[in-house]
């Protein structure tokens, strides 16, 4: 199969409008004859489910959490971008598009990103109308802040809980449709396979996580809105339940995987404190607006931060990047933190941390103003570390935070499997090799509120309107495969726990496919993963049965998938002989240590096709054509 991105013809700014006009429509009376399955209820899933139900489709939603409201979008802190230009500071749809393309290091599709920037303005309108309590000014109008990678203030926010408020807005829209009977919500359910009939996605197999029952659900289309797969690294800012199972199983059913190695490492997380650690906590990037990042100039300087005089501190981001300073994009801020720590200038007991200092901001704005802006983040930091950031600088270190890679989708958000769609972080589409801050919420809601409601009808219009039956050989086979897989996991009865395997895998990924990668390390990592995978299938020990609530069984299935997905990430990282965005290959850097792209050979999306167990995956290349922007080396100096 050749990759067809279905990017519409015409000038960039008119593509989306022209495309919408050309898309086939489903007549309002016929919409109720279609059943749509939405897996995942974060920003993308909840907004898609609500919007599709409002249009008249019958929607079923699935989430592994006990309520749709708990999806991990809820933890996004800083804000959501929109090209409203309410600040009169020179923002525009084109500038948001340009910043996003540049921030993504020219590895995203122009047409998708421009559409994202266009609909960003509608998202804010929608959320405000739902009653999302955004921050406001005394005149009653919306407030904005600036964020990394941008020189305008276009970020809308609700204290440090923007993701929570946006998700509760989308959840409320879902609730309204549940009350109307247009959405049926299945909670504590996990999708374990996609069912294909005649090569088209026609349903899923799901497990009721309370009873253990395996269920069949049929529909005319399946939307995967299941988020990112960063938990392959184990210690991350993701929720513990976030997983790659839905996308990976869809991949094994024929959905190509786009740019799997593009991972975002977020620069401002609370450092690791010990072996027991189960997760890393993110501190919003918005802290970089007022906090100054520094390390001691001298190696091994173990004095308390307050005892280090100003002239013995190195505010390295301000020094290297005078125009963006502490607001450089995430990939650069993370890598520079790693570099100064590798030089031996890291702080704290592990030496794997840098300071984020608010002393100047408190002097300039007063403690009250700083508290009003960041109070909840400061409290969170204090609760976790036992240190007061009003008195002493925070210690921060980068952590895995987001995956730009994901299922390959065309302009309509359809994967390479007809009828199977991927929205939000689950797809690869809009952020290229690096995502800018406050853009994840924007993309999730753009896909769910505005893109999929328009594009899904185009596919459905060509699908027969009669109900899909789950009583078919295809469903029989898919259900049997799922049950066999569970039985196999439970039958091993080895000696190692899921948790142990997950931690080992995370270590391998972090050491070999983390903030900096190289050929030898990746090759070694691939071998280590293969070994670990073999060991997993011989030595995993899962207590309990499949006929009950069994959290270890759930985790084991997810780790089994991560053990395969992790290898593909390394294969992808190994094949991409360039550095771009979050993908930093040590062999490919400028003399100043910046990422060096190879536009002649790698200006494409790597879309990987699964070829069967033990077989190497096949690479398909979707060439990226840039009509509006000129590819340049990113400079934030």
């Amino acid at each position: 199969m050749t990759l067809d991105s279905k990017i519409p013809a015409g000038p960039l700014s008119e593509k989306w409008d022209n495309h919408k006009f050309k898309l086939k429509l489903v007549n309002p009376a016929n919409k109720r004859k279609y059943d749509i399955i939405v897996v995942g209820t974060g920003l993308a899933g909840a907004s898609a489910a609500a919007s599709l139900a409002e249009l008249g489709y019958n929607v079923k939603t699935f989430c592994f959490q006990d309520s749709p409201r708990r999806a991990h979008s809820i933890a996004a802190q800083g804000g959501i971008n929109a090209a409203k230009n309410y600040r009169n500071d020179g923002d525009s749809v084109y500038r948001l598009f340009y910043d996003t393309i540049k921030g993504g290091d020219y590895r995203a599709r122009e047409a998708n990103v421009h559409r994202l920037a266009q609909v960003s303005v509608n998202i804010i309108d929608q959320c405000v109308a739902q009653g999302v309590p955004f921050a406001r000014e005394y005149g009653g109008l919306l407030d904005n802040r600036s964020f990394g990678g941008a020189q305008v203030s276009r970020t809308f926010y609700a204290k440090g809980q923007t993701g929570q408020q946006l998700l509760l807005g989308a959840y409320s829209a879902m609730n309204r449709q549940i009350a109307e009977g247009k959405i049926k919500s299945y909670t504590r359910h996990e999708m374990l396979d996609v069912v294909l009939v005649d090569g088209q996605a026609r349903g899923i197999i799901a497990r009721d996580l309370v009873t253990g029952e395996i269920e069949r659900h049929a529909g005319h289309a399946v939307l995967l809105c299941t988020g990112g797969y960063g938990n392959v690294f184990y210690l991350t800012t993701y929720a513990r339940g976030s997983n790659g199972t839905a996308v990976w199983r869809a991949h094994k059913k024929g959905a190509y995987f786009g740019n799997p190695c593009f991972t975002q490492i977020h620069p401002t997380c609370i450092p690791v404190s010990g072996d027991h650690q189960s997760k890393l906590t993110l501190m919003s990037e918005s802290l970089r607006n007022d906090g100054r990042i520094w390390v001691p100039k001298e190696k091994g300087d173990k004095r308390k931060p307050e005892a280090i005089p100003e002239n013995e501190r190195d505010y390295y981001l301000e020094r290297i990047y005078p125009s963006f300073g502490n607001l450089v994009p995430r990939d650069i801020a993370s890598r520079k933190a790693k570099e100064v720590c590798d030089e031996g200038r890291g702080v704290g007991s592990t030496g794997l941390a840098v300071y984020l200092d608010f002393a100047d901001a408190i002097k300039r704005l007063g403690k009250d103003a700083v508290e009003a802006k960041y109070g909840n983040l400061f409290d969170m930091y204090k609760q976790i570390t036992g240190e007061d950031p009003y008195q002493t600088p925070m210690r921060i270190y980068p952590a895995v935070h987001y995956t730009m890679g994901g299922l390959w989708v065309d302009y309509n958000l359809m994967t390479s499997v007809p009828g199977l769609y991927a929205c939000g972080e689950a797809n690869f589409s809009d952020h290229g090799a690096n995502r800018l801050g406050a853009s994840a919420l924007m993309q999730g809601l753009a896909d769910g509120y505005f893109v999929i409601p328009a594009t899904l009808g185009d596919y459905l219009a060509s699908v027969e309107r009669k109900p899909i039956s789950s009583d078919s050989p295809e469903f029989d086979a898919a259900e049997k495969a799922v049950k066999d897989g569970i039985e196999k996991l439970l039958s091993i009865k080895g000696n190692k726990t899921v948790h142990e395997f997950q931690r080992e895998l995370g270590q391998i990924m972090w050491n070999h496919c983390g903030m900096a990668r190289n050929e030898a390390g990746l090759k070694e990592g691939i071998e280590k993963i293969k070994q670990l995978r073999n060991e997993f299938w011989k030595d995993i020990h899962i207590p309990g049965t499949d006929q009950e609530l069994n959290q270890n069984l759930e985790k084991a299935g997810r780790v089994a998938d991560f053990l395969e997905l992790g290898e593909l990430m390394m294969v992808d990282a190994l094949h991409r002989n360039e550095s771009c965005g979050g993908h930093f290959r040590e062999e490919f850097q400028t003399p100043e240590g910046e990422a060096r792209r190879d536009d002649d050979n790698y200006t494409y999306v790597a879309a990987w096709e699964y070829k069967g167990e033990g077989q190497p995956e096949q690479l398909h290349k979707e060439k990226l054509d840039f009509e509006s922007v000129t590819l340049t080396q990113r400079s934030y100096k």
């Binding site: 907004s47 609500a50 919007s51 409002e54 959490q65 006990d66 309520s67 409201r69 708990r70 991990h72 809820i74 933890a75 409203k84 509608n122 804010i124 309108d125 929608q126 405000v128 109308a129 739902q130 009653g131 309590p133 406001r136 000014e137 005394y138 009653g140 109008l141 919306l142 609700a158 809980q161 929570q164 408020q165 509760l168 959840y171 829209a173 609730n175 309204r176 549940i178 009350a179 909670t187 309370v210 929720a239 010990g274 027991h276 189960s278 997760k279 906590t281 409290d379 969170m380 609760q383 976790i384 036992g386 509120y449 505005f450 948790h499 142990e500 207590p543 009950e548 609530l549 270890n552």
Partner: protein, 252 residues
């Protein structure tokens, strides 16, 4: 407050499923670091249980940063444990002392039936929201965001109410298992914003009626809910709910 590793005794509620009887079991948690979160301590105990051929303790958890509202443990007789303003996932072991016995139970409420061990079914909260916890606007049919000005004080108050994470600690802490704090927070958020004004009467009546149907108890103003709420949701929301409800009923 400890800085050295600790040895603790845990008394944990174990219950196979919703149909069976539960009981307390005693476990030892050895060499617990004060830097661990409470749930990380539980992870370590569970690893030991699995290694010893026993069934690990089932507990709800997800984000582990205090915002998703999934974790729900009644620790030493208090929802989310002894520290004010934090969820169990953000509670750290430095808040306990070496040699302490810690009792861990699920939320106790008729409307929150136990599913297994420390996991309860809180879908009643979803159904209350479905009854009216929304503004009826379809995607697309809305005015420009700045066409709806909201006084900063109102927006800030609405945000404070909207900060509820839906964990259910208020119900667990209440001797009557009342859900008034949860329901009032949602009603208040919309009552304070112009967007919510159109449906305010209908909303409050429907949400309160669903709350009653779910089997939550009545509010007797002991304010334990506010004291135990990890997000500091104020009981003034309950006063507002009562006003909203009265107004709606009187003008029905």
């Amino acid at each position: 407050m400890s800085s050295e590793n600790m040895n603790l005794t845990l008394k944990v509620w174990r219950q196979r499923n919703g149909q069976s009887q539960g009981s307390f079991e005693t476990y030892q948690a050895k060499s617990v670091s004060p830097d661990m979160s409470f749930l990380e301590m539980m992870d370590v105990v569970n690893e030991d249980l699995i290694k010893g051929g026993k069934d690990p303790i089932a507990f709800d958890h997800d984000c582990r940063e205090g915002i998703c509202g999934t974790c729900s443990m009644y620790i030493n007789g208090r929802a989310h444990g002894p520290v004010k303003g934090v969820t169990a996932c953000q509670l750290h072991m430095r808040s306990f002392i070496d040699g302490e016995t810690i009792t861990i139970e699920p939320w106790r409420a008729t409307a929150f039936p136990v599913l297994k061990d420390l996991i309860v079914d809180r879908s009643a909260f979803d159904r209350i929201q479905q009854a009216g916890g929304f503004v009826s606007v379809n995607t697309g049919s809305v005015p420009d965001a700045n066409a709806i000005p909201v006084a900063k004080a109102c927006a800030d108050e609405a945000f404070n109410s909207a900060a509820c994470i839906g964990c259910g600690a208020c119900v667990a802490a209440c001797k009557n298992s009342s859900a008034m704090l949860f329901v009032s927070a949602k009603v208040s958020q919309y009552a304070m914003l112009p967007q919510g004004d159109v449906e305010r009467k209908d909303r409050v009546i429907k949400m309160v009626s669903q709350m009653d149907e779910e089997g939550f108890g009545t509010c007797t103003n002991t304010e334990a809910c506010e004291a135990e709420c990890p997000k500091g949701i104020s009981v003034t929301n309950i006063a507002r709910l009562n006003r909203e409800y009265l107004r709606a009923k009187l003008t029905e």
